[in-house]
Symmetry: C2
Subunit: 230 residues, 2 copies
């Protein structure tokens, strides 16, 4: 039996999906190094949520990286002149929403790859979800697979190990309700997480954006009360 | 005949290779948007060289992005405690050198992809060269091809256009001498470019690192004098 400690880099936004992904990685036996980005998003409360999640869970190291995606704008999340859509119907059936941030997951995964290479880690977890966010191209399995192939050609560690980077997406096929049930079972405290795209100045969720709506529906379908709202 | 203006994003470091790549893209008829990174490299002189190259050539827009790769270290270019190797023999035949920066080109291309998507551009030029820098995994054609495939799954613009991002690498198969001859023919002023990994405090090249050696050999084989040394 090998005594080698399995290690992973986990992308952690402070939201519900990534907190669950972190819990799943821990449950799989990985020692977790979490990575969070301050990328110019509307709400810095996301970063605070990530810190709280890290404090509450088993995390070996937490790195917060500053990158300025407002340099590009073009998304309601990084450009204050673009309004966050509210009360949309049939979220998953619509075209790519204006909350899409150009190449965001590509940039996040690239940084995760750099950090993983430095740490000698080959497993990277990202809480993308294709079911609820079908509008975001960089949340699909085919994107993640292509990134993994690229990563295994990009790095010195991959060349030296003949490519063994693995981008793990444990919640990619789950519904929001399934994610919440899984996380609850693993002890995730969802009161610490934040999902809203457009909170007020005190950090209170708007209850009307896509992300709030999906969260609300998820808790309802899971027959659970959202502890962040109490 | 189409009157549409062809546009491209060009990664520009301030070095000889990327300045030549910019000239080639311009010669191919592209209107060029240049992107440079201040990533914590030893020498900020590289950024100044990029500015000078931009001022001397036809560039529509120049974006300088601050990213902190010193957060990871692990490379002689971003960690001052690691020495830049000097006077190495058979540079191209050696293993991956300590000047390799983890996932650097992956991160650079990810940002270029984000900017290209915002600008509505589908052509990205990178001055990677597989001949002289065989030690860097992210300078190989197979890496660039894999990145291109990934880019065409990652972005909204790719989904809407059924994937037409093209990562162009015009100098990938050229020798350093061929690059210099091509650039000279296109009017590149190599006096403005900077190659040294470890310049002194006045920006003077060390003449001993891999990059200085390759540059010196390139000019010698091209039967040209390096104007940066006069």
């Amino acid at each position: 039996m090998s005594n080698e400690i399995k290690k992973a880099v986990i992308l952690l936004s402070g939201g519900l999906d990534s907190a669950t992904t972190l819990a799943i990685a821990g449950d799989m036996g990985y020692q977790c190094c979490a990575m969070t980005f301050r990328y110019g998003q509307r709400h810095s409360i996301e970063i605070e949520s990530a810190r709280k999640v890290v404090a509450a869970m088993a995390v070996k190291e937490h790195k917060i990286i500053d990158i300025d995606l407002t340099a590009f704008g073009h998304s309601a999340l990084t450009d204050l002149t673009i309004e966050v859509p509210k009360n949309r119907e049939n979220i998953a059936e619509n075209a790519i929403p204006v909350t899409y941030v150009p190449a965001r997951n590509t940039i996040f995964l690239s940084y995760a790859l750099a950090w993983a290479e430095v740490l000698g880690i080959f497993d990277i977890f990202i809480g993308v979800n294709a079911t609820d966010y079908s509008g975001y191209p960089d949340c699909r399995a085919q994107f993640v697979d292509a990134f993994e192939k690229m990563a295994n050609l990009a790095t010195a560690a991959a060349v030296e190990n003949k490519g063994k980077y693995k981008i793990q997406t444990p919640i990619i096929e789950m519904s929001k309700a399934e994610i919440i049930k899984k996380g609850t079972q693993l002890g995730v405290d969802y009161a610490l997480t934040h999902s809203c795209y457009d909170p007020d100045e005190n950090g209170k969720p708007c209850a009307q954006c896509d992300s709030c709506k999906l969260r609300e529906t998820g808790f309802k379908e899971a027959n659970l009360k959202d502890p962040a709202l109490s």
